[in-house]
Symmetry: C2
Amino acid sequence: MDKEWLMIPGPTPIPPQVQMAASQPMISHRGKAFSCLYEEIQTHLREIFGTNEEILIFPAAGTGAMEASIVNLFSEGDHVLCLDTGEFGRRYKDIGEAFGLQVETLSFPLGRPVDPKVVEDRLAKDDKKSIRGILLTHNETSAGVTNDLKAVSGAVGEHPAFLIVDAVSSLGALPVKMDEWGLDVVISGSQKALMSPPGLALAALSARAWAQTEKAGLPRYYWDFRRAKAYAEKKQTPYTPAVSLLFGLNAALKSLTEQGMEKIYDQQAVIGKAFRAGIRALGLELVARPGSESDTVTAIFSPAGLCADQWRKEVENKWHVVTAKGQGQLAGKIIRVGHMGFIDPLDILSVLGALEMSLGITDKDKHESNAIKAAQKVLAEGGLRKTCE
Amino acid sequence: MDKEWLMIPGPTPIPPQVQMAASQPMISHRGKAFSCLYEEIQTHLREIFGTNEEILIFPAAGTGAMEASIVNLFSEGDHVLCLDTGEFGRRYKDIGEAFGLQVETLSFPLGRPVDPKVVEDRLAKDDKKSIRGILLTHNETSAGVTNDLKAVSGAVGEHPAFLIVDAVSSLGALPVKMDEWGLDVVISGSQKALMSPPGLALAALSARAWAQTEKAGLPRYYWDFRRAKAYAEKKQTPYTPAVSLLFGLNAALKSLTEQGMEKIYDQQAVIGKAFRAGIRALGLELVARPGSESDTVTAIFSPAGLCADQWRKEVENKWHVVTAKGQGQLAGKIIRVGHMGFIDPLDILSVLGALEMSLGITDKDKHESNAIKAAQKVLAEGGLRKTCE
């Protein structure tokens, strides 16, 4: 039986403990056992979102939570700014336009993050405060770029626009401090850093955003945050929740918070750094410019003369390492490797080994891997040095 | 360890084989293994829906598919008829109104099904053919009433209104012959008769309804059937699908279709009839009038002088049989017992025994259960009679 290494930017591998939790017998979603489950999940999620507010949970893909954040906050014709650093930023624009918003896009060059100064300058020109919302992707999966949430929030400053953050591929792996950083809406999903099966969309709102849900004019029913909140007070959901996925999510969240989120974030940073060190040792170029590289997803240009999709297939067919394609303008030019959730530092060494062998650039005389050596160097920096007494 | 008997109208108990299937290692939703899974599910679902059309699958509760059927077929101000036989019929009305439709409600008396003659008469008066859609709940879970889809479709006849059917608590247990009966949209969910975990919403459209999706004016993105169909051609979904739930659903569907849907429908009819025979033997009254009783959910008035919620709690606390409350005007007056999906005839005997004991009406001298006897009589009608040769 082939072992598969699932290294896409989500869904990510599911820990056996999470699978087992998800296999518990079905329960009624209107009974006490469900309310207890709901409350435990809330406690964990509040810590991970960095908020005291309720976290709403919908049976949906992450895109559902993106749509929910639009239809609950805005009215037709509202002017919003979309901060575009890649495909997922542009998806927010498409959703806004589908619902009749006037979406102004600030695009940043490929591989670069949102420049807070550009946001600040644009808002400074908005004398009439007509801009009602700012749509920001925390971690742009398509380019492997992480935006600086705190800095962008700082750039928004006192401007009244609602800052709406897609944290689908970051929450649980990269720090998100919603209340401290003044984020108005944060949305995410179960299937990435939260190492749970796909099918749960998450959303949290600031007090100010909650007030806005009463004023927003867009039509909504399934996504109506107000109805979801009314049921949340009973520790229930308005419609049948995805009970088995919630069982799984709770087990995953418990494992994360018990380990300690700061430790999780530190390990994620090491994993990202080690993987990039290995990739650079192979002489490969990243899409992300230095300083903005994502620690959860790395987007890598294929070597000159090699079609990225061919490379990806070789890695998958020969080594059973599953990576993701490039999207949009990057199609055929890059492969993307997800390394979040139930992925540990040793997985990184294996994957680097596969990428290296697939390119035929292992040092054949010495049988020595430059990529693995470079990654090990990063990983070993935190190694034990104490001698026995 | 207490054994729990989950007898609510969904989510229903999950067969161990389905749980095991749902626990398979995560796979990429853009790879070949996913496309194979998707295609197998399509084959099974087409048989169960009775259609040659594509079945769209969204990570969502059934209510999501209800909303999807509205936003993909209609435009603001469209006049639709809601055929109201209970709470779920009224939910369709609420969704329609949330999106600015002009919803005209035809309400039928409690416990009675939609009268096709009333529909026919109303449509006959619609000279200008201004009615654009008809919203119908196949199996009204709140009252334990089943509507006659074929007869209602016959009553619509040549009128151009789109007939939209909520088959959430019927599909897979009661016959649905979408193409043969001329249904335009049929929506359902994974968590009831399909004996899979909740979190998947299903929708199928007639060719005429597909054409209408291009004309409908309501804003949509996540629910956009057109985008879902474009991905369906690649045997994929536009956004991350709930992979583990699909693994589970496929196992459940395979088991249903292998057993044969006609056999499943026959067994469901026997289960419903046997359960009702037992309930009537207890001298209890059903909400559903004779001839319209649902074979998947039975709504039972509590005996005079006994609060239904107290009764429900007693049955749950003492016998670990979990039933559902009455909703709306029936709150406190009824209990609802779901008996579909992974429920077999013997489960019915146990549950009748618990209901009977909870009421203290077992014949104490003879230690004989009238309810169980009555149900056994129905079940035994199909019993073996052959002697050994």
